[in-house]
């Protein structure tokens, strides 16, 4: 497993997402309230660019009419058919046993440790003063 440097943290404020191709795989990295998530940008249903869909919360209910709404901004809804996926785990909510999208761990690393490596940062120049978003895949 390689660790890929995606972007300086300053370029990905909360609420943004970045699309890129790593090792020929289309992925997206999300910043949700300061927490970073990586996800394969391909819906396991029909192959849509899943990560272009809206980020919503998770609606659950044990009593009709009473909705518990959690995980705000952590559910990506596929733009083609509306299926929901948890960006933390990649699990789907309509058929969790059969459908899951690949999730990649993402986090922030200080530039000093990134410079030391081993990291893959093909297109970035890394400086020790900045913090960087790193995805493991």
């Amino acid at each position: 497993m390689a660790r890929h440097v995606i972007a300086p943290v300053s370029e990905m404020p909360p609420g943004t997402r970045k699309f890129l191709t790593v090792d020929e795989r289309p992925i997206a990295v999300f910043n949700v309230n300061g927490e970073f998530f990586g996800l394969l940008n391909r819906c396991p249903h029909m192959g849509a660019a899943l990560c272009e869909g809206p980020l919503i919360g998770l609606a659950q209910s044990t009593t009709p009419g009473e909705i518990e709404y959690t995980k705000l901004g952590e559910i990506v809804r596929c733009p083609w058919h509306g299926w929901e996926f948890d960006i933390r785990t990649g699990q789907s909510y309509c058929d969790p046993r059969r459908f899951r999208v690949k999730a990649y761990a993402a986090h922030v690393e200080p530039g000093a440790s990134v410079v030391k490596g081993p990291y893959v940062a093909e297109t970035l120049s890394v400086s020790v003063e900045d913090d960087y978003v790193v995805v493991e895949m």
């Binding site: 209910s61 044990t62 009709p64 309509c94 058929d95």
Partner: protein, 361 residues
Amino acid sequence: MTAPIAGGVDCDLHPAVPHLTSLLPYMNDYWRDQVTTRGMTDLLSQSYPTNSPITGRADWRPAKGKPGESVDDLLKHALAPFQTAFGILNPLYGVQLVFSEDMADAFCRALNDWLVKEWLDKDARLRGSIVIPAQSIEKAVAEIERCATDKRFVQVLMLVAGDMPLGKRHYWPIYATCERLGLPIGIHAGSNYHNAPTSVGWGSYHIEDYVAQAQAFQTQMTSLIVEGVFAKYPNLKMVMLESGFTWLPSYLWRLHKFWRGVRMETPWVDRPPIEIVRSNIRFSLQPVDAPPEPETLNRLFDHMQSDELLLFSTDYPHWQFDGDSALPEGLSPDLVRRIMIDNPHATYARLKDSVAKETTP
């Protein structure tokens, strides 16, 4: 044909009320006078026009009167040939059609009392469904509670096409009462004609109404599932009567497909619709709407991944089959036993209660 086995349960029999005056002994003085002085004679629904072939099989039609109005005929035509252990009576009389909830209530009470005295008391194999004035929830619940003390009532009967979609919370007190009392809700083909009998308006011919019943059942099942009736009342059973069932796989595929995309609108639907159908909804056998090839029918059971869905019925006196070939070709002996005995007993818990009562001195 597939041979039936003895000891089964016929889940859809239709005793006919000969005439509205047959119910007079079961009405109070006020309603008896109302019926008499207004000159009300009969409450015929266009769901089963008297002379339509489907309304009564030729060899089951009496010389005089309505098909299904004689207890002896029903026992001889419908129970004896199949050595049926229990027959569940679902009266389809026009009492649910009247717009006055007070009149509907009075007529439903009379009909239920008539069923006890003129039918259930006449033969120990007979069981009944409680007919309710569904436009008044309060009165419907009171009537269910009144009748339910007689364990020979094993079900509550509603029409598939009433005033509103059946999943609406308006109806939930009925469902709560039924779940508490162990009464499944039988939803029978037919309309109270408060709305057009098809979803696109009024047709010209009886066949349009009859064929459209399957769409009404689909619409009601969607309503019941997405409104969360079975999330709220997980032990409630519903039985679709005279609904047909071969439309289930394509209908459920469609419902499942769209549920996947809009799950968050009804998050109380926390499992695929087909699983809810398998746990809570059953279907009467007749009319079988499959082509006669056995492999077609068996493919349906494969699609549904269940052999617990169908309940034996003759739909007497409606003309759905000839002779005693009520069971379609190609059913395995195991499936015949499930359809005729196991599945009805698993659905109608009160069948066991009434057996116990009879064997207790």
